[in-house]
């Protein structure tokens, strides 16, 4: 698992959002990103609750209500494939099959090294460039087999310049 930057990362993130309980979703987004595994662990949730002076049940209610949050590790690079109707009938299943070929895992699974995970998502508003997928905050559209390999390799080899041209700018 990716080492998290510093022991105080939770309090740093909460402070960045002015200890404002109204910013809970933004805090959870940032914690999840900093986790390196796309999730929020229980001790972190407790710490957030303490810092915001809000009950832990409230933090968990929010954490488990929204589908972009997870209480379990989901992989460092989480590949989210749209499963909504416009994409499902526009080759998103092929995209999923290619991802499976590349990574040897299916939806809801993580590679043994914890580097990659695959998940379904509802519509990400990229129907005009499907088949598309989302990694982090970026959507990659109009993908084919070779572009997908290029994309996955860019993460394997830590070469962002290979994936930048594939980011959807529409």
């Amino acid at each position: 698992m990716q080492k998290i930057s510093g022991d105080n990362f939770i309090s740093e993130i909460v402070q960045k959002h002015n200890n404002d309980p109204q910013q809970l979703t933004s805090i959870l987004h940032d914690v999840q990103e900093a986790s390196g595994q796309n999730y929020v662990a229980e001790p972190w949730a407790r710490q957030i609750a303490e810092l915001l002076q809000t009950p832990i049940s409230h933090v968990y209610e929010v954490l488990t209500f929204y589908s972009m949050f997870s209480t379990e590790p989901k992989g460092k690079v989480l590949i989210e494939i749209c499963n909504s109707a416009p994409c499902r009938f526009n080759r998103s299943h092929e995209l999923l099959a290619w991802c499976k070929e590349e990574l040897g895992i299916g939806v809801g699974e993580i590679t043994p090294d914890g580097e990659f995970g695959i998940a379904y998502t509802s519509c990400v508003g990229a129907c005009d460039v499907s088949p598309s997928l989302k990694i982090g905050e970026d959507v990659y559209g109009n993908l084919n087999r070779s572009k997908l390999t290029q994309l996955i390799n860019s993460f394997r080899e830590n070469r962002p310049e290979l994936r930048e041209p594939l980011i959807c700018q529409n």
């Binding site: 979703t25 209500f65 909504s84």
Partner: protein, 430 residues
């Protein structure tokens, strides 16, 4: 002559989204200047005359909403921009946020001035977080230029805009759920009344408008409500952003005048959809989002306006036009729609939470030869009626619209695998 129109999309792709000077050169912030020389009541009159119907999907007349809020007492009044675009097949708010954000901010500033709001929130769906930093930096630029922030245009009026991130919940597009989420709570809908105009964000009077609605305001003020109305349909003025997706050749965002084009123009015209890809035939189209109606090729000559579509049993909704070719099974498609609603139901009320799940079981059986009986069809009908009548909010009330409309058009596919059950179960359906 072009079939398209450039009101909201003016400058998109030509003017850099963050370039305030360039935006001013195409008339940017002139509407705000004009607005601030008018009284709030005069502005509301123009919006009413324009007959702008809410562009998020519910199609509530914007002018009526504004007039209502204007007469409500209590301060502060908040402005909330609904940028939780979650209807699959819809990406027009992303277009506005990415291409012409200054027009949206100008619309928000005008709304803020009308209601003397100190603060506006943009509720940005979690899937669009990549836009947040960019939007914040553009807000800062607009502040430095005097169009937002303290003492707008040298007046006594000040407005701060904050961006709140969603986290992947379709239900938050429902305005009361959106306000709960903006307050940092889970996004479950509130019981109404009280109306959000009276008891909204932090219990204060609140205006909740869609991105596209707010972005339409500057042009309404520049042209005047009457002229804006004349550009569209007599019942619903101006333009609509269409998100064209699925199996048409030219997917994308198109701004069209309301009441001027038919569905055939939208899907087949070389300037718009350009027809069906791979030489296939059109099987059906799904309008207004997953909660909208499914249309049949026989309806292609229907004019795209709120009135004409409603008369044909269809709706504008979010402006989504999802085109599906002949290779798609209608039942498989409906299963995808249904699975979306199972996933997105907030779980608060039984008809929506359970209804969608039970519908899924029946759709599954309808796909297997001999697995479904006529009883299943009768149960499906009952479930649809119950959900529509008894769900707590719009999500459950509209979750089965696609199924019931498709059922009319593709009756034979619904019944293809059905076997007759015992005599006493033979209920009259369809």
């Amino acid at each position: 002559m072009s079939k398209l129109i450039n009101l909201i999309s003016m400058g998109a792709g030509e003017v850099a989204p963050e370039d305030i000077k360039a935006y001013q050169q195409i008339g940017g912030f002139e509407a705000l200047k004009k607005a601030m020389s008018m009284s709030p009541a005069q502005i509301v009159e123009e919006v009413k005359a324009a007959k702008l119907l809410g562009r998020g999907g519910a199609a509530f007349p914007l002018g009526i909403k504004w007039e209502h809020l204007l007469h409500i007492e209590g301060e502060p009044k908040y402005i909330v921009c609904n940028a939780d675009e979650g209807e699959p097949g819809t990406f027009k708010d992303r277009f506005v946020l990415r291409q012409v954000p200054l027009r949206l901010f100008e619309g928000i500033a005008i709304a803020g001035y009308v209601f003397n709001s100190p603060k506006a929130y943009i509720y940005l769906r979690g899937e669009y977080r990549d836009l947040k930093e960019k939007l914040l930096s553009i807000i800062d630029k607009a502040k430095s230029a005097g169009f937002l922030g303290k003492n707008i245009l040298g007046s006594n009026y000040s407005l701060e805009i904050e961006i709140i991130s969603g986290a992947g919940a379709y239900i938050c597009g429902e305005n009361s759920a959106l306000l709960n989420s903006t307050e940092g709570k889970v996004g479950r809908p509130r019981i109404k009344p009280p109306h959000l105009a009276e008891v909204g964000l932090f219990q204060m009077p609140t205006l909740v408008n869609n991105v596209e609605s707010l972005a339409a305001i500057p042009e309404i003020l520049l042209l005047g409500g009457q002229r804006y109305l004349e550009l569209g349909h007599p019942d619903s003025g101006g333009s609509k952003l269409i998100s064209l997706a699925g199996h048409c050749l030219q997917r994308g965002i198109y701004e069209i005048p309301l009441g001027r084009l038919t569905l055939r123009d939208i899907i087949f015209d070389p300037e718009l959809g350009g027809g069906i890809a791979d030489g296939k035939k059109l099987k059906f189209f799904h309008l207004g989002g997953q909660s909208g109606a499914i249309g049949h090729p026989d309806q292609l000559d229907t004019v795209y306006s709120y009135t004409d579509l409603r008369a044909a049993g269809l709706s504008v909704g979010s402006g989504a036009v999802v085109v599906m070719d002949e290779s798609v099974s209608i039942l498989e498609y409906l299963k995808a729609v249904n699975e979306f609603f199972i996933h997105e139901s907030c779980g608060k009320c039984v008809p929506c939470r359970e209804g969608n799940r039970q519908i899924h079981k029946i759709l599954d059986r309808l796909l297997i030869p001999g697995a479904a009986t006529r009883t299943d069809l009768a149960t499906l009908r009952r479930l649809i009626d119950t959900m529509t009548a008894a769900s707590f909010c719009g999500l459950g009330q509209t979750a089965a619209v696609a199924i019931s409309t498709a059922w009319k058009h593709f009756k034979s596919e619904f019944e293809a695998n059905v076997v007759d059950g015992p005599e006493h179960y033979k209920l009259a359906v369809g």
